[in-house]
């Protein structure tokens, strides 16, 4: 295909499904998971509690739970539900699983630092992400069952998960970063085409939280790397 041919395509040409089908993915996974997503809610609230304890073990446990959230939302939502209607979503799903494995590896190989952090700011941003972002899928669909929870919906998981940048050491931080950026760009383009304007806030929030993750991370001089 020539360059002119490629230029004749628009973003819409690559999206083979409509907003109704997409928003029902949230409803379907919530219906199928019930009541296990309540556990995801408890975990989402528990993570900042663990981080605030300023203990190495608690912080590792928090990052370990984030790792689990990446894996579950990637394999569950993206591979299992979204992949059948959109093959790039399945690829992202496996990338989410790899991202989860990466965080798990960081936990077990000293990649989670124990330097002092601005815990209050981190906790506020975390709670904003896991408590506010889930409602946007609901706002676009008009159905409360579409709530996009941390650990279930990839958008909320990636947004909150961006704050792990503040918890891992420098090398792990840079390895962890690319998927956050790629996913934000992909989902922003997708949500733009689907005209799900509320949900479009999520990838924007993810990029802002990436910045916050770096801002809250220990200065280079303090980093064990």
């Amino acid at each position: 295909m020539s360059g002119a041919d490629w230029l004749s395509y628009s973003l819409q040409d690559f999206v083979m499904f409509g907003p109704q089908v997409f928003l029902r993915l949230f409803v379907r996974i919530n219906q199928d998971l019930w009541p296990w997503q309540l556990l995801a809610v408890v975990i989402a609230i528990f993570i900042p509690v663990l981080i605030s304890r300023q203990s190495r073990v608690a912080r590792r446990l928090a990052v370990g739970l984030m790792s689990l959230a990446w894996i579950v939302s990637g394999y569950g939502f993206l591979v299992g539900y979204f992949g059948p209607i959109n093959w790039p979503a399945a690829w992202f799903g496996w990338a989410f699983v790899a991202q989860g494995a990466l965080l798990a590896a960081a936990v077990f190989s000293g990649g989670v630092h124990d330097s002092r952090l601005a815990i209050g700011r981190l906790a506020v941003l975390w709670l904003l992400a896991v408590c506010v972002l889930p409602w946007f899928a609901m706002a676009d669909s008009g159905q409360w069952e579409a709530v996009g929870l941390f650990g279930v919906a990839p958008g909320t998981t990636a947004a909150a998960g961006a704050l792990a940048l503040a918890l891992v050491t420098r090398t792990w931080r840079w390895v962890y970063l690319p998927l956050l950026v790629l996913w934000s760009l992909f989902s922003a383009a997708l949500l733009w085409v689907l005209q799900t304007w509320w949900l479009l806030v999520t990838p924007v929030a993810t990029l802002l939280l990436v910045g916050a993750g770096f801002w809250l991370s220990p200065r280079t001089a303090q980093s064990p790397d």
Partner: protein, 311 residues
């Protein structure tokens, strides 16, 4: 605005009423001589005719494993069959649409009622048969009526295999597709020298480039024409549904915008079939309404295109 007319309002006020009036006559076909016949088009070079309105599956049938939506799309297909439709077009490119179509056909026991058309969409020119077989399994059909090379991707190799498959009776008709007005020059060159049964291209009341070269060439070469994007991917409704139909639309056989857009297309003498896609039963009824009643003549077609341009 007093005269604002939405697609849904049309359905309620006129489209459904029109279908309701037409349908009893249609279904009284066995006994009544006044039955309203569907508009059929002969496939060039054959004695076979197909209905002038078919169904596309782009976006609309890609619903994954959503049982609620699969049931709803099955209702759309059922309505299509009930109103006389047979031609259904898909592509492996459309995600889960082929699987959903297979489920819907199973639910309706519709395999014998369908003129099944799909595409070969792979850059691997040696994979034609494998892809056709994969699509057959997904649709649940023994063989396709029509296999088309999607957007000319790897067309040389695929077309050679498709010609062999047609000779072996593995497919009844073969063709090539394009959309959005892409690669028309190369498309015309292939039409000029290859033994095609069908071409599929984009044509609607706003995108009329094919009237200059491809449609006359199809007539000259005896190639059937399937028209995709008859509503420009839905944008024609978004742009014009709030506008009133012209007073003379009824004379051109159009009782609503769907009929207006579709009858403009199928009244072109080179066109065999238009394949609008929809996910809603009521829209399917509107679309199928275009397969009945009068068609605009050449001067009315000019008037239709001019009216839309003027809005």
């Amino acid at each position: 605005m007093a005269n604002q007319i939405t697609r849904r309002k049309f359905l309620i006020s006129s489209g459904l009423a029109g279908i309701a009036l037409k349908a009893p006559m249609l279904f009284a076909n066995t006994s009544g001589s006044t039955a309203l016949s569907p508009i059929m088009r002969r496939i060039p070079g054959t004695d076979e005719s197909i209905p002038a309105i078919g169904m596309g599956t782009w976006i609309t049938f890609n619903v994954g494993g959503d049982e609620q939506l699969i049931t709803q799309r099955t209702e759309v297909l059922k309505t299509f069959f009930e109103l006389g439709g047979t031609v259904v077009d898909g592509s492996p490119m459309y995600g889960s649409a082929a699987d959903v179509m297979g489920e819907a056909l199973n639910a309706l026991d519709g395999h014998d009622r369908i003129f099944a058309a799909t595409k070969i969409w792979t850059g691997d020119e040696s994979a034609t048969r494998a892809e056709a077989a994969r699509s057959s399994r997904r649709w649940g059909v023994d063989r396709f009526d029509l296999l088309q090379v999607h957007n000319l991707l790897g067309w040389q190799g695929h077309l050679e295999t498709l010609k062999q498959m047609k000779a072996n009776g593995e497919v009844r008709y073969i063709g090539i597709t394009t959309s959005h007005g892409r690669r028309h020059r190369e498309f015309a060159q292939i039409m000029e020298r290859e033994p095609l049964d069908f071409v599929q291209l984009t044509y609607n009341v706003l995108d009329r480039e094919v009237e200059d070269r491809l449609l006359p060439l199809a007539q000259e070469r005896g190639i059937g024409v399937i028209v995709n994007r008859p509503f420009q991917g839905g944008s024609l409704f978004r742009r014009f549904q709030s506008e009133p139909l012209p007073d003379w639309a009824g004379e051109a056989g159009a009782g609503n915008w769907a009929e207006f857009f579709l009858k403009y297309i199928i009244s072109h003498p080179a066109v065999t079939c238009a394949i609008p896609a929809t996910s809603k039963v009521e829209h399917m009824k509107e679309n199928m309404g275009a397969m009945y009643g009068a068609l605009p003549d050449a001067s009315q077609r000019q008037r239709m295109a001019g009216y839309v341009r003027s809005l």
